[in-house]
Symmetry: C2
Amino acid sequence: MATANIKEVARHAGVSLGTVSNVLNRPDTVAPATRQRVLDAITTLGYVRNDSARQLRAGHSRTVAIVVLDVANPFFTDVVRGAEQVIEEAGAMLVVCNSGEDSARERRHLELLEEQRVRGVLITPVGHGPQPNLDKLVDRGIPVVLVDRGTGRANRCSVAVDDVLGGRLAMDHLLDQGHQRIAYLGGPVSIAQVADRHAGAAAALKERGGTAELRVAVTSNLTVAAGRRAAEELLALPARQRPTAVFCANDLLALGVLQELTARGLRVPADVAIVGYDDIEFADAAAVPLSSVRQPRDQLGRTAAELLLDEADSGDTHRHRHVVFQPELVVRRSSDQPRR
Amino acid sequence: MATANIKEVARHAGVSLGTVSNVLNRPDTVAPATRQRVLDAITTLGYVRNDSARQLRAGHSRTVAIVVLDVANPFFTDVVRGAEQVIEEAGAMLVVCNSGEDSARERRHLELLEEQRVRGVLITPVGHGPQPNLDKLVDRGIPVVLVDRGTGRANRCSVAVDDVLGGRLAMDHLLDQGHQRIAYLGGPVSIAQVADRHAGAAAALKERGGTAELRVAVTSNLTVAAGRRAAEELLALPARQRPTAVFCANDLLALGVLQELTARGLRVPADVAIVGYDDIEFADAAAVPLSSVRQPRDQLGRTAAELLLDEADSGDTHRHRHVVFQPELVVRRSSDQPRR
DNA sequence: GCGAATAGATGAAACGTTTTAGCCGCTATA
DNA sequence: TATAGCGGCTAAAACGTTTCATCTATTCGC
């Protein structure tokens, strides 16, 4: 019950307190016989290190935090898994905090983390404005790495995925397939990802210089239901104006479009091709497997963690870096049929 | 950079160190004027409490841990959200640890958590065997609450959902609709949930005492692909033996069945009715919205957290409890059509 | 106006570790 | 033989809080 401390271990093993500490932290500096005696004492007493005391002495903890917008979002869960891997390999511990897109909760989390003197923070901040809380951490010397948001700040590292390139990839693919009337589906446009993916698609179209055209349909959100509604609207167009391909800002929209089209008797990809974004688990499992732009999510987490550890370890010799990953187009059946 | 401590605050405010502590912890015991002076000093120095020192003194931390089998599994993410809510309301912090179904990682996490003297642990343990690591925590006086596994241990609380009842609900519903040939799909049977849900279905069938029959099709796992394969096999049966309803051990299987059936030209629910389990987000968004058995996932988390806090606070007056929640059938289109 | 109670503040001890300076006895070197 | 070096260990300081016993004015009851 009452947890044994290092002093009791020392007494039990007939050595000084410092020797026990040495057994724990620099085992090779203590004679084998003594070491064994101490280890025996540790097991018989069921001694467990007290991390608070250790941290107090060390001045900082061995845990790293990741603050995500939504623990239930597959994007973040994959990022977490990637980061976890690196952090655990380094012998540290990753704690996951959920801001839930609520800046008050975010602030509260950061305050607590600061009190805990965490080794560093990986974070996708709520909103896009200035970040006084994060600045405060950085001022204190706590490394902060931005994940998928706010790239380019001078005083911290960041990792992100190039959404403009993602839009480009999707568009290039559809143009390669010979589509002339293409729709981009997404919204609200205030979301940077929605805007960037559109920008990429538009840029690709312009560069190709052909006669193809891109129609934009703004949705109110990025859900399956919104995809269905948008598909209905597309179907209401006169046949000659109707797009032969739809590029969706995420996979949920794309699945909604797929469902509505097939329900109305259209064939995918023969009548309408579809490309989604995110390559969620269900993309491959859909009735018609969905082409999608895949982001290297776990690598995002891994790299973020590596940058963090580098900053935490190398201190002032550290140079902040902004790593941008390239997404990748996964072509599946939903868009795999050239136009004549 | 160098973080100010309580002593510097005291000096800056011209009071003793104890007074600063009082301002922080028992503000009403210190005169308003002094209090204000201290608060001013705190803000000008940018003082932030050192939690390690606080914990060291207190003997335990203010964080609670939840150890889940998979951070990316929607079941657990919802449980986490529920627990989070309660824990944060109590002014504590919830840290999420991922065992990834790996007992070595689980052990390592528990060791670290023990070193950190966490306030308590919510956990879905890997495997079903004895739990020496957890026993060790309990011996130390650290409250442990089991989540959705291992109900009934005498020395700890637990929360779970009644899977047998879930199977019953689904079966009763299908029988109510007049189905006579029903299939249960799921596997491997070594998974307790798969077995329990089947047991519930079988029990319901027996109690009704009608002429209906239940055919069991064992799948190799619980994925969309497995659902498709199983559906193929069902379709290969002679029409007279073919089930008119399928109850699936989870929603992924059910979605696979739905896809394969519609791809083969059968109508759901007119030709075959489907009921899934878990009520995942996509159940409602499927081409034919899926009936499913819903588990009160966030409530599972909330209750687990409440039990934990009760044990942590009330100490020896605490009585261990085993709370079992009842699942609920959500009827949607996939099974909403009575047989003649 | 006197003793008692009380509000407000103080100083020191304690929490459990890590680290550093130093001590002791031995061996290798000159 | 003296000295330096070294392996192995010890003792004590330091980390930053919280708490508790104590002290000093001030207020209250009579």
